[in-house]
Symmetry: C2
DNA sequence: ACAATTTGGAACCAATCGGTACAATACACG
DNA sequence: CGTGTATTGTACCGATTGGTTCCAAATTGT
């Protein structure tokens, strides 16, 4: 009936995610995105309406990929001790930096930026962060060391660890010395032990 | 000899700080700044060279005001227990939110933004965060509960608490539920107790 | 009074921003 | 093979970005 789309939508969103991840929402210009996604203005606006809509789709994608990966790690029953899973999450954040990835967490970056004055973006971001939080809580429930805590206390501890996670990933983006990051992760381990 | 400056430079910087604090570096436009500072383009560029230079001055000002206030709280020997001082710092961050201040920490916001791809800004930001970190470490040294730790362990714990602080203030900006913030602070208290 | 300087303000700049209009293009189906 | 149709590329849009330049008015010390 008509000319088919020459690009894969998911792939395009995934490419856009990389651009937003490095530059942030307001820092990523249309040319940046077009370049990274490998398509032209017309195609982008036809397929994704506008920049903000694209960003919301990207956040969804990030939630479905990066956040979901973290959550399933936190739910991985093949590691019986929940605190071990949590430490694996924090350690992997540290290892990303040693591998040269200083971009931090897309969600955490968006959480700090001026884009948070937009209600829709705010909603998606805090939903994503809450998903992380819930994952941490699940892992805590599978931790023998925290079995005697009250549900409320465990809930609060999950909140604290979420803040810890956000702080760690923000520090990574801020080019804080790698030793400091290592120390922070190590101390989380000591605290949970 | 010549006409003196009709505005107070420090006051102007302080006003600029408010604008950057709410909008972030790239989010604050020239009109925003001129409006908030109450002066015109000509005066601003004569006095502060350009936007980035102004922002660096603002960061210095923030370090001399907000960060220094936090540090002197952390050094306040009238509160003998260092952990109490640290908890006061975290609690005050929480109380800022209950008072309706959702702007978070200027340094932490700058740490997450695309402005971190600028070396000069990066340097000033991480210097400020390190100052905070050192303050926390001093407080820890004045804590009986942490007197038996090794210097290295205490250092690492300070790093962790810095990440915690950044995360907390970022969550405040991200409009995370106030209960979650309260829980996070409470858990820090439990952890340090 | 005079020289020095800063003021507010407007005009102006090139560059870039996000977004749109539209003609050329390339495909799927009858 | 055509023809309808959605996609594509590009030229273009007005608005805004940070930054400059000019100038008359204002305010000081000498």
């Amino acid at each position: 009936m008509a000319r088919p789309r020459s690009f894969d939508t998911d792939q395009a969103i995934s490419n856009a995610m990389q651009v937003f991840w490095t530059h942030g929402y307001e820092g990523a210009s249309l040319p940046d995105l077009l370049d990274g996604m490998g398509l032209t203005r017309g195609s982008l606006y036809k397929a994704f309406t506008d920049k903000k809509t694209l960003f919301l789709k990207v956040l969804d994608h990030y939630e479905g990929a990066a956040v979901q990966a973290a959550v399933s790690l936190l739910n991985d029953t093949s590691i019986s001790d929940g605190t071990e899973r949590i430490m694996k999450l924090f350690t992997s954040s540290y290892l990303a930096v040693t591998d040269g990835d200083r971009r931090g967490c897309l969600l955490c970056t968006a959480a700090a930026g001026p884009s948070m004055y937009d209600d829709e973006i705010t909603a998606v971001v805090s939903r994503g962060l809450n998903t992380m939080r819930d994952g941490i809580e699940v892992a805590l429930e599978a931790s023998p060391k925290h079995a005697d805590m009250s549900k409320a206390e465990r809930h609060a501890l999950a909140d604290m660890l979420t803040a810890q996670y956000i702080g760690l990933r923000t520090m990574a983006r801020a080019r804080i010395d790698i030793e400091t990051l290592r120390n922070a992760v190590r101390s989380v381990g000591v605290m949970l032990a």
